[in-house]
Point group: C2
Chain length 479, copies 2
Amino acid sequence: MSQQKPNNFSKWYLDTIQKADLFDYTPVRGCIAFKPDGYEIWEHIQEEMDKRFKETGHRNAYFPMLIPESFFQKEKDHIEGFSPELPWITEAAGEKLEERLALRPTSETMIGHLYSDWIKSYRDLPVLINQWANVFRWEKKTLPFIRTSEFLWQEGHTAHVDEEDARKETMQMLAIYKEVVEGLLAIPVYDGQKTPSERFAGAVDTFSIEAMMKDGKAVQAGTSHYLGTKFAEAFDIKYLNKENKHTFVHTTSWGTSTRLIGSVIMVHGDEQGLVLPPKIAPAQVVLIPVGPWKKNPAIMEKLDEIFAALKAEGIRVRLDDSDQSPGFKFNEWELKGVPVRIELGPRDLDQNQCLMKARDLGDKVAVPLESIIDSIKKELETMQTRLFDKAKAFRSENSHTHIDTMDQLEQHIAESELNETIPGWILAGWCGEDACEESVKEKTKFTTRNIPFNPPATKHTCIHCGKEAKHTVWFARAY
Amino acid sequence: MSQQKPNNFSKWYLDTIQKADLFDYTPVRGCIAFKPDGYEIWEHIQEEMDKRFKETGHRNAYFPMLIPESFFQKEKDHIEGFSPELPWITEAAGEKLEERLALRPTSETMIGHLYSDWIKSYRDLPVLINQWANVFRWEKKTLPFIRTSEFLWQEGHTAHVDEEDARKETMQMLAIYKEVVEGLLAIPVYDGQKTPSERFAGAVDTFSIEAMMKDGKAVQAGTSHYLGTKFAEAFDIKYLNKENKHTFVHTTSWGTSTRLIGSVIMVHGDEQGLVLPPKIAPAQVVLIPVGPWKKNPAIMEKLDEIFAALKAEGIRVRLDDSDQSPGFKFNEWELKGVPVRIELGPRDLDQNQCLMKARDLGDKVAVPLESIIDSIKKELETMQTRLFDKAKAFRSENSHTHIDTMDQLEQHIAESELNETIPGWILAGWCGEDACEESVKEKTKFTTRNIPFNPPATKHTCIHCGKEAKHTVWFARAY
């Protein structure tokens, strides 16, 4: 895919996820059906995230999906940010409702309303709650998994005695997101702070992890917000502190969504289809009999044995004994991104070996049958690391740290268009003025992704106005 | 609670679940917030159900929540059954929609539409898919957990080559429901078939598991439907069979919901509050220091040690070292239904023992500290069984198998009202006529629960008309 022309990327993406049977379109605008192979990727993400949330003291809860219109009015920035995208319930059970109910785009308002009742004393704090739920944002332009009218996510909502504690939480959750996205999805991310214009509607500070897709565009893969006392003031969430004084809580919220499914495809996929990191692949290993295997029952006996042994190890394995040709099967399972393929035919069996093919490598290797389980386990581990390293190398190749003026940027973009290469990300200085950020966006469609905590270089002048840079920022086109 | 006057039951229920902090009311009509201790019960149910669904070859998927109005028109019985309860989206992102979208009350229509595209050949069958989701039924009368406008559930939707295979699936899932509800929630249920008037809207046959609450009323704890080819015909779901002929699939659907949370409270709770079966209790064990424990650091050291050992065993344990009095703590944790309480004070420590109290038994027992972990594990197991046995005995006491006429039934009800006892369930014959069933309901508010597969007796005459009984049926008042 590094050879892929950028214009073909979205066609490749849509073809690939459809052929791999991850989703289907539906008659409801912008809403997709998550088919089992697509949904299972989400289940593996959920499992890992949920484990880490619980290890850090969070508990799950569930809040109503419908939000009264008046709730949105309480936090000015919040309503401005979300009202253009809300679907509304106006009738139920044959009657017109007195007040319209929105389908939640996020739950700060409903949760704010409830927390104001649940939180009375410093003894009740911190409140550390997460919710797994569906949310709605009626977007104009949609793309399966990446941006859909209905999507699935988790949203954490916490309340704390003071700013210090709330900021610690905000950073802790961002760190967990980075660990899971890098460790489980093998997607390298930059963690950093959003500029004010890219903040969550109602946040004091928004932090994000940003990932580079194979077309060089960015995906915001997770966000963590320090909300200050804004929602506490809007919903009157106060506690009695140790000095017996009523005090506003400091709140946070943080979320990751099913757009991670789309990201993992866009980061690792290739011309043959999906390439799934072993940790999240619905099938990690596929066993395929080859040659005149039907005449030789020992082949299937051996494969059954390997199948059982892998299953016993907790490895997700499929055995494809259908009537299709081996070549057809190879294609099909490559398309689905299965990390490891094992082929066994009569000649292999005679030599007490089988062939093993890692999805992301060109060559098959002969592996002795006696150590096959260990070989597979090792390959799954090394492939997980290899995919991460490859993605990191790709990101590095396409991150540009020597573009310091608009002229240089526009020339870089013109060249990449001419050569049909991807423009990638630009690390550049920014003076901190909204106007400069906005102008870069207008001229180039590059937006600020985040102000990375650990930038690969430090910039001293604003890419737009040339004045002193307050921040070193990642600029990129984004999904 | 067996002593409880029936009229006080709903007050007891509402008080108990509120004091135990399981839920909160919200400003949206009939929608509750599931607080962590309530939601965690659902998480344990989900985990067990999901495991069994997957063991039997099912996979999870996710379908859009919004359903176009025209979809409901396609299956006549279905729209009749559900249309009175639907909330409608009529506007989104500032524009009026061309077609109204309902919030799903269940997903047969959306899934039927998609399956007609996904299923082409006998090779695609069976399709075995489950969804975990929120659903909406705008009910007039609501009760937290038991009947809410929005609730959480799982809905399985499968498609099969023929009736035999689909009916096998219907029965298999009903059996799984019975195993989980009896084994995990310690709630005995009767499995059986619903009468036609109580069928799911659009089903050929509906089967249910029915549970008796402590007020003698019934809760339908799970349903499994054989849908025949009704939805296949409505949505044109056909496959090419081995003889190359286009054939309608046979479909099933089956569901259990968060009403199980309410059921477990209503089956096991007592005057002191919740009594939670160990397998689903958010906290299985609570450790409480007693006596002058703050002066004796060895107490907390020992409790910390027990805490760590229980955690290592995967047991959900809390240590309450707050400043409240032991009596206050005992009440609080009893209210929350924690199965096992351990008390440790200086005198206990001197004797190398602690006190153990099972939530459902009156007496504390002294347990040697050296075998404390084993004692706790054993108590959790025996309590799980004991709660099931108690619930079964209660059900047996309140199941009446000698009432064979309307006179006897009306007299039985009058007596129970006079004595302030619960009328319970009635096993009676039924001729099979809707009119008889309807008349029993009008006169007594007793409805048919199901036609049990294994009734404790067989009835020969219809309780209403006295003619020959076609079925032996459980009649009860129901939630």
